[in-house]
């Protein structure tokens, strides 16, 4: 499908609601290279519009410092409008909190434990 892509660590698709979902593979250990590959995959489906992102990190095992800073940087803020990060496991909660606390993402970002709440928040960021 043209609105669906995969990278080594995640599967991405653009929903009918205009929100892009990014679901990580089990025990994903994300390096900078993986982050760039996932960004490249996103660029293939975002249709030139800044999209809200629903990122499920519950299966994430680690997120390298460089990858955190890359996601938090200018490039992501230029092509996406917001990021709702779904956390659940202790590891994902820790990664998510450090991401928000230390990386100062330029993209409006927030942690959620439920997908419904995340989607409701993202609707405010559709452009």
């Amino acid at each position: 499908m043209a609105n669906e892509q995969t990278s080594r660590v995640a599967k991405l698709w653009l929903g009918d609601d205009g929100i892009v979902r990014i679901i990580h593979v089990p025990h994903a250990e994300v390096t900078l290279e993986d982050a760039k590959e996932t960004m490249a995959a996103y660029l293939k489906i975002y249709e030139g519009k800044r999209r809200p992102l629903l990122i499920d990190t519950q299966t994430l095992k680690s997120l390298a410092r460089e990858a955190r800073h890359y996601y938090a940087g200018e490039e992501a803020a230029r092509v996406a409008s917001a990021a709702a990060i779904i956390v659940g496991t202790p590891v994902s909660k820790v990664l998510g909190n450090f991401y928000l606390g230390l990386s100062n993402p330029q993209l409006p970002s927030q942690l959620f434990s439920s997908e419904d709440a995340a989607l409701a928040w993202l609707k405010g960021y559709r452009e």
């Binding site: 025990h27 680690s62 390298a64 410092r65 496991t89 590891v91 994902s92 990664l95 230390l102």
Partner: protein, 376 residues
Amino acid sequence: MAEGLSRVSQTPSNHEDPRLAELLEVIFKFAAGDLTARGTLSDDDSALDGVMAGINILGEELEAQVAANRQAQQALAESENQLRTVFNAVQDGILVADVETKRFRMANASICRLLGYRLDELIDLTVEDIHPEESRPDVARQFERQLKGDGSLATLPVKRKDGTVFYADVNAAPVTLGGRLYLIGVFRDITERKRAEQAEELASRDGLTALYNHRTFHLLLEDEIARTHRFKHSVSVLMLDIDHFKRVNDTYGHQTGDVILKDLSSLLMKQARTVDRVCRYGGEEFTVILPETETPAAMQIAERLRTEVERQPFDIGSGKTINIAVSIGVATYPQQANSLEGLVKATDIALYAAKQGGRNRVICYEAKMARKDLSA
């Protein structure tokens, strides 16, 4: 304490959970300065995995922070080194003095060379220590003035370690460093320039009377005539000649003649205004340049000079005095001449007329004198 930690870290079997021991091991490594240590995460997403993930992130951040700090320190040290190199390469001497204590805080290599002190010796001194005692009140005044940041230059005598003194142009400016007020002084040794100025001054003066000499008279008059064009005013010149000076020399000798010339010079200097320029034109002839002076005022000044000379007894030694008289010719530019040469000639003609008219008198130039001069 470190020994105790090391012992615990080496005995994971003391703990029931080997993963907890691994976590402690990572923490101990951090404590020992090894910020590259990382713990492994299992795939069961336990709370301990969360703790381990957090510790790993803290390790990463700490490692990055330490590396960034080290880099910043290196950059700072390099920048300081570059600044110090520039500071020391400057040919002028630079001294930084604490305004409150007057003690030097920094000094460059040039000022150390100029003063003959090592840097550590100089840093121990105060502003007063590098100036001759008699100039200290002036130094203190200049210090206060430059502290106000007026940017002007002061020429001050500076004392070397060996006690010798040289002159320096000092340009100073206040600056605040780390919350304290300092005065940065830039010292330029002007010994050579001073020497050249002195040589120039000597070359411009007459050896006997110390008045401006013939050559300088022409230069000064040239400047004054240029000024008359700019400011649209006049300049007058007096030319004086001692009456019967040959008789003085023949009667009392040339040494006495020289004494008379010197004393007359002093008298002329005393009588002249600050703006006037008294010169020895040659032999017993003197000239006085009177800037911004029209003929009537020039005549008054000339008459006053003549009277003073006539009135003044000149001491020729052995308790003897003699009286002399002078004849004075007066001319004004541009009213009576339209060039420097013309003005000098007009003054000379007027002086000649004074001599011809019986001496001990002042005569102003008139055009008919020139006609007579031509016909002669």
